[in-house]
């Protein structure tokens, strides 16, 4: 069961490190991304624990001084955004499952796909190298003119982000062409799984938005290297212009981070409810809708930057509109549960955890979009709590759920269900203990990016730090569970969950060419009848 007639699959068909580093197989490239991204996640996670340890008490703590704290905070943000969450789901699970989902042998441009990984690794290596030079302390946003004046390794870091952005563009392009050109016979656009719709919308954003970040970072590097006055007011530049450019990319980037997670959640909820997804069309189009509107809301990061009041009015209004498709998705998932046959295997626990945390992340996002309230909340811990609820509570929960869901397919091994559930409990509870108090701290007025704080904020910060330890334990349990499963997990059947999408019609792990016979599609992806 679960083996091709020859016993060959994409993992054992070729051997040796060279066969991996030169592989054009989307599945192997997906795994290489997985190893790199998980390594960076470990580094970024250690930074997060250090930040929380420093903030355990008012006054200097484990990091000793503001400069060190600022560097740790910057690396945490930059690594988690550019090296973990942006590439995370598309490059790992998208690479592995997008071709399988549409019944293709590979992505449209396999060589370009491998090149994307190398480009990503070059960028990542450059980013990590700054750690051994003068480090960087600008925050992940590189705001001018601070980033022009600081004597840290800004040029290397922005070039690293530029190079990783290039990788992101290439991956996006590859996925767009793959979805349009390589669908199996009968796989109409109305039959592709919602995960593919989500990755597709994300790919469009990557291709359109990332070049703007690239050129902005290049301008910043040019300004630093040659003293050309684009953003520096002393040379006649405009520092706020940088913020416009930066958020023109970085707001769509928020959806680059969350849309793939929404795609995974759609798969998980349908599979573990054994039920047709409610409102397939609405969910698919709302992904496109979110992607489109997300280009016109960047100014909501800048309500107090000195942009005109009229701009604030327009951006606040458009931000409300982007909330609607998100609400549609939430209600559609809820409706899918109705009269389902719901099992509580760990991927589903993560999906339900996503709904819980994303609901809170969503409503607090609406609060921040209300301009009169944002003036108070802007740049306080309320914002920190909000985007962690969305990025960690949303994207990372979905990524973990996706890992457990697809692990049997990727490696042909089952995992220990009890341990996986235990890790979920630690991560979910730890997450709320860490970040819920930060909403309260923000409402009280505690600004973000503070090395030190007033004594009034101490008790809530202590609770938050204890929560971070629970999250850490949860991820360690997950790491143990995954390693144990790889070493000694029971062999996985072809379709352990009873799913209806195409990847479950091929052996676990799949053969090098994905399907022994090209699948012919005659029904939608969630036909649980």
């Amino acid at each position: 069961m679960g083996h091709t007639s020859t016993g060959k699959n994409y993992i054992n068909e070729f051997a040796g490190i060279k066969s991996w580093l030169t592989s054009l197989d989307h599945k192997r490239i997906g795994l290489m991304y997985m190893i790199s991204v998980l390594t960076f996640f470990l580094v970024g996670g250690i930074m997060a624990l250090l930040i929380r340890l420093e903030l355990f008490q008012a006054g200097p703590g484990i990091l000793g001084n503001g400069d060190t704290y600022n560097q740790v905070m910057t690396y945490h943000g930059a690594i988690m955004v550019f090296m973990v969450i942006v590439p995370g789901i598309p490059a790992i699970l998208g690479n592995f499952f997008l071709p399988l989902h549409i019944g293709a042998k590979d992505v449209a441009f396999p060589r370009l796909n491998l090149a994307s990984w190398y480009v990503f690794m070059i960028g990542a290596a450059l980013a990590i190298s700054t750690f051994f030079t003068t480090k960087i302390d600008t925050g992940w946003t590189f705001y001018t003119p601070y980033s022009i004046k600081t004597n840290t390794a800004v040029v290397s870091m922005v070039m690293a982000a530029f190079i990783m952005g290039m990788s992101s563009i290439l991956t996006g392009l590859n996925f767009i062409v793959t979805v349009h050109k390589l669908r199996a016979p009968g796989m109409t656009m109305g039959r592709i799984p919602l995960f593919v719709w989500a990755i597709y919308s994300t790919a469009v954003l990557q291709v359109i938005a990332t070049p703007v970040l690239g050129i902005t970072l290049l301008l910043l590097a040019v300004e630093r290297l040659f003293g050309i006055g684009i953003f520096n007011p002393e040379l006649g530049g405009d520092p706020v212009l940088f913020q416009h450019f930066f958020w023109f990319y970085s707001h769509p980037a928020v959806y680059i981070m969350i849309l793939p997670a929404m795609g995974i959640v759609s798969e998980l909820i349908a599979t573990f409810s054994r039920k047709t997804i409610f409102g397939y069309t609405a969910i698919a189009y709302s992904s496109i809708g979110i992607a489109a509107v997300s280009f016109f809301v960047w100014g909501h990061h800048m309500f107090v930057s000195g942009q005109s009041a009229v701009a604030g009015l327009v951006f606040s209004f458009l931000t409300m509109l982007v909330g609607v498709p998100t609400a549609i998705k939430m209600f559609n998932w809820l409706a899918t549960l109705y009269r389902g046959s719901i099992s509580f295997q760990s991927p589903m626990l993560y999906a339900l955890g996503f709904l819980f945390l994303f609901a809170i992340g969503g409503v607090t996002g609406i609060m921040l979009a209300v301009i009169g309230l944002d003036v108070h909340f802007h740049d306080t811990y309320f914002v920190v709590a909000h985007f962690h609820y969305v990025m960690v509570g949303g994207t990372l929960m979905a990524l973990m759920g996706g890992f457990y869901y697809w692990m049997p397919k990727m490696f042909g091994k089952m995992y220990d269900e009890g341990m996986a559930r235990l890790s979920f409990v630690f991560i979910f509870i730890g997450f709320n203990v860490t970040f819920f108090p930060q909403f309260v701290l923000g409402a009280m007025g505690m600004p973000r990016r503070y090395f030190d704080y007033l004594p009034a904020y101490e008790s809530l910060n202590k609770i938050s730090t204890v929560g971070s330890w629970l999250i850490g334990i949860g991820f360690l349990i997950s790491l143990y569970t995954i390693i144990k499963s790889l070493m000694s997990g029971a062999p996985a059947p072809m379709n352990p969950w009873g799913s209806k999408t195409l990847e479950w019609l091929t052996p676990s792990p799949p053969p090098h060419h994905n399907f022994d016979d090209e699948p012919v599609v005659t029904a939608g992806p969630y036909e649980y009848k």
Binding site: K275, V304, S305, N332, A335, I342, G372, P447
Partner: protein, 321 residues
Amino acid sequence: MKWMLLLSNNAMAEGGAFMPPAVTDIAGQVNNLYSFILWASFISCVILIGGMIYFVLKYKRRTNNDKTPYISHNTFLEFLWSFIPLVFFLAFFGWGWWIYHQMRIMPDNALEVHVFGRQWSWEFVYKSGKTSGNEFVVPVNKPVKLIMTSKDVIHSFYVPSMRIKQDVVPGKYTTLSFTSEKLGEFQVFCTEYCGTTHSGMLAKLKVVTQEEYEKWIQENEEGMTLSQKGEKYMKDKGCIACHSIDGSPKVGPTWKGVWGQSHTFNDGSTASVDENYVRESILNPNAKVVKGFQAGVMPTFQGQLNEDQINALIEFIKSLK
């Protein structure tokens, strides 16, 4: 779990859960809006999360052969859960905009204070020429207008008790206003990341009675008022050669009575004479040339006048009624 109890009991009932006490009318309005959205959010989370928990318990998998109904969609329901959130979102938007709109109205009779941000302290400059670092004293019930700029990187001026915040940007002026209805000492934070001691860039806003304010402002007053300083710089830097202060035209427009007026420029555009316009005209004179005058005559004073001096010049122009 004291804060959880607080959340469920009284804090949400009274305005501004967890927020510091409101000391201005605007802060009270922010509290009302915040409470309304907090309740709406709480209810929608109860519907979403409660509904989820109810469904997963009720429709728990019984056997491995459970049959589920095929429900593809329901247009009416989908319309409802798009439309109802939209109505709420637009209501939040409108209310939030109305509050912001009031925040941005700068009162005419305000006490004007110049604020400079620099790494990592605040400096407050009063019209009398009095300068105060990190202690910002204003009278109660009097509208105060802050005219702010930065001497290095971007900072942000934030007073939680008043629910106001505005970035302080090098190379331009931004403004903020408030009217405190309560006496007391309030915390001022810097909320735009500015480096090593960002978290130490604090100031105290002291709201005192009018008498105490007047007593304070006269303490240590030495030398000239800000506009007297401006008059001196006008003469020292040679502005007087081309600009009159008595209304007569010279090579450049007169300064008398120009403050607040609308100027028409050579390219047909118009702008009113305010802080940013004067600043631009000093540092980049050819950006806007008043109709009837020649471009390219006045040199830039970039690097020749510092922020304090430009500031004093602006005060001097304001005084030339």
